[in-house]
């Protein structure tokens, strides 16, 4: 599924839409960055409540294309700036990690 399509389909606020028309087909849900680092795949969507700069660093290193911040956590400006710099999409939702995972699962028809 194209990232741009996901951005418009999901029940979330788009904070930063990646310009590249990347393909995403999986997701990884975790709040432990070392765990994300070790197990997330290229072209995953990352579902997490870790709303800070280091999440973008991990996403970039792991090859993650998009980050969904759950529970409507506030996203600091430097995180948004990093996401723009690294060309990683950033969404925010009121839903929790489980609800978001279910929603993304349906979108990706997993």
């Amino acid at each position: 599924m194209k990232l741009t399509e996901i951005a418009t389909t999901g029940n979330w606020e788009t904070l930063q839409n990646a310009s590249a028309d990347a393909d995403v087909n999986r997701a990884y849900t975790s709040d432990l960055l070392s765990d994300v680092m070790a197990h997330a795949h290229d072209s995953d969507i990352l579902i997490t409540i870790q709303a800070h700069n280091n999440t973008v660093a991990v996403a970039s290193l792991a090859g993650v294309q998009a980050i969904v911040i759950c529970n409507d956590r506030p996203v600091p400006g430097d995180m948004l700036a990093s996401a723009q710099k690294e060309n990683i999409a950033l969404f925010r939702t009121k839903a929790n990690q489980f609800e978001t995972s279910c929603m993304v699962g349906k979108m990706l028809e997993v």
């Binding site: 709040d31 970039s60 792991a62």
Partner: protein
Amino acid sequence: MNRLPDLSLETSPLTLVEVIYSTAIRDVMSADPIVVTRDTPMSTVQQRMRDHGVSGLPVAEEGRLFGIISVHDLIEILQQGKLHMPVSDCMTERVVTLEEEMPLSMAISTFSKYPYGRFPVLNAAQRLTGIITVRDINVSLVNRLLQQVSKFESMLDSEVTPGLALNRVFQTRKHDFENGGKASTTIKKHLVEHHVDRSLVKRVAIASYELEMNQVVHSIGGTISYRITPEAVEILVQDRGPGIANVDNALTEGFTTADDWIKSLGFGAGLGLPNAKRVSDIFFIHSEPGVGTTVKAVIHLQKQTKEQEA
């Protein structure tokens, strides 16, 4: 007088040895020196020395060297008030000379052997063609060494720019989450730009990021150095403390000493070192409480020795 440093072949830097052995005295000396003849009166010698700012003159006629007259000889004559005397009565006749074709090293050793400030230089036909002073040698050595140094510097530059090979050192500071991951991100980009296999890049990224964040989270700060060759990526992290009390525990998945604040940021789950070790082909850790921790992680780029997908 200051002694010259030991310029022997065995102890000198090769560049210097090369310069002093490959340079001929002819290229360093002052050619066509001002001379006086044997019948020149000492009053004229005084005038020539003053006019040309020299403290010694060869005595020569049609290229044939008869002696040398120095400012010391002149002072003696002045004291005796015998300025009318001809040079032949005052000069030093037994003169140490050098030859044009000799290497500069020969001139240097001659200057260390004798207390004289200059030596006449003769050609193969024993005719006077120049004079050499310590100043001539200094100027020429500095110029030649400068050329060599710029040559080396331009070689250094050209080694850094092309290709995958890279040496880089980054600093980390305690709890500087703002910059945490900077080193790893920079290195990952470099590897991707040079078309390193994605799964290898991922393994480097994991090892690098975990070790980098370990320094940010746990240590009081340190360095993370990368040595990248076409064969391998070598990551060396060194911190200044506090050190790990039990390394075996630290390498056990799930064991952590992180506080709640660190955990709330998504770190300190006890996965860092085990992750880094898992993806490395070579992994070495040494820690001493109160001193610091050193970790070396190597990932081979040539063949995938670790089969698992990172």
